[in-house]
C-alpha cells in the first residue's frame, strides 16, 4: 500500500515551488494534470490575518500523506502524484499545500486531486494557528474519524 516511489510526498519549511512539482508530475504519456493550490488567505471570519503558523506531528503526518497518495493509485487510473505541505510561518498568499495529479484522462485527475485534499484536511495531523493584530487562535479544524473504542457493545443495526 506504499505510494509508488515516483510520487513526491513531503513536509517542507521552505516555500513550495509549484513549477518544479508540476513539471515533475506531468509525463509525456499523460494528457491531463489537475492541481490544487491552497494558500494563506488575508482574512479569517472577518478578521485581518497577519500570518499563519503550521505545525505537524511530522512522522505521522508524512505517513498519512503517503497513505493518501497510495490510495489514489489504488482508486483512480492516474500516473503521478505530488502532495506537499509546508510547515512553520507562512505569509499571506503563500502556498500551504500543493497537490498535483497527472493522468491520461481528466476525470481521474480531478477525482484523485479532490479526494487527496479532502482527505488530507480531515485526517493528516497538521495544525494551523492564525495570527491577527490582536492575538492568535488555533483554527477550528476537523475531527479525524478515528477508530472508536474496541468494545463488546455493538451499535444497534
Amino acid at each position: 500500500m506504499a505510494a509508488p516511489s515516483t510520487d513526491i510526498t513531503k513536509l517542507v519549511l521552505e516555500p513550495i515551488d509549484p513549477l518544479a512539482l508540476a513539471a515533475y508530475v506531468r509525463g509525456n504519456g499523460d494528457g491531463a494534470m489537475v492541481i490544487f493550490d491552497g494558500f494563506v488567505r488575508d482574512h479569517s471570519k472577518n478578521r485581518r490575518t497577519l500570518y499563519l503558523k503550521y505545525e505537524a506531528y511530522e512522522p505521522m503526518a508524512l505517513a498519512k500523506i503517503q497513505e493518501i497518495a497510495a490510495h489514489l493509485h489504488n482508486q483512480f487510473p492516474i500516473h503521478r502524484v505530488a502532495m506537499v505541505h509546508r510547515l512553520g510561518r507562512l505569509e499571506i498568499g503563500e502556498t500551504s499545500v500543493y497537490i498535483a495529479v497527472s493522468a491520461a484522462h481528466r476525470a481521474a485527475a480531478f477525482d484523485a486531486c479532490r479526494y487527496a485534499i479532502d482527505t488530507l484536511k480531515c485526517t493528516v495531523p497538521i495544525w494551523k494557528k492564525e495570527y491577527f493584530e490582536d492575538g492568535s487562535v488555533w483554527a477550528d479544524g476537523e475531527l479525524p474519524s478515528a477508530p472508536s473504542a474496541t468494545s463488546a457493545v455493538k451499535p444497534a443495526s
Binding site: 503550521y54 506531528y57 505541505h85 495544525w127 494551523k128 478515528a146 477508530p147 474496541t150
Partner: protein, 88 residues
C-alpha cells in the same frame, strides 16, 4: 515472575493547543501495566485541569496510527492526543 507493581514507560506528545496547556511538546511517563490511553489522558487532565474540556474534540494515536481510547499501552509506545486537524 514480574512484579504486579512493575511500570511501563511511554512517550507522550502534545500538539497545538494541548502543547501550550502542557507547556511542553513531549515527555516520558511511567504507567501501571494495563493502563490504556484514556487513563493516560485522565492523568494529564488531573495535572492540567484545562485539558479536560478538550477531551471530546480529541482523537488519540498510538505509534503514529489513530487508536481507540481503550487501547492498552505497552512499554515504548508513543502516544499523542490530537486536536482537530487543520492542515491544507
Amino acid at each position: 515472575m514480574p512484579s504486579v507493581s512493575q511500570s511501563i514507560r511511554v512517550k507522550v506528545l502534545f500538539f497545538g493547543r494541548l502543547k501550550e496547556i502542557a507547556g511542553r511538546a513531549h515527555e516520558s511517563i511511567d504507567l501501571a501495566p494495563e493502563a490504556d490511553i484514556e487513563s493516560l489522558f485522565a492523568r494529564y487532565a488531573s495535572r492540567y485541569p484545562e485539558l479536560q474540556q478538550y477531551r471530546p474534540s480529541l482523537v488519540a494515536s498510538c505509534n503514529q496510527e489513530f487508536a481507540p481510547w481503550n487501547t492498552v499501552l505497552h512499554a515504548g509506545d508513543e502516544v499523542a492526543f490530537l486536536p482537530p486537524v487543520s492542515g491544507g
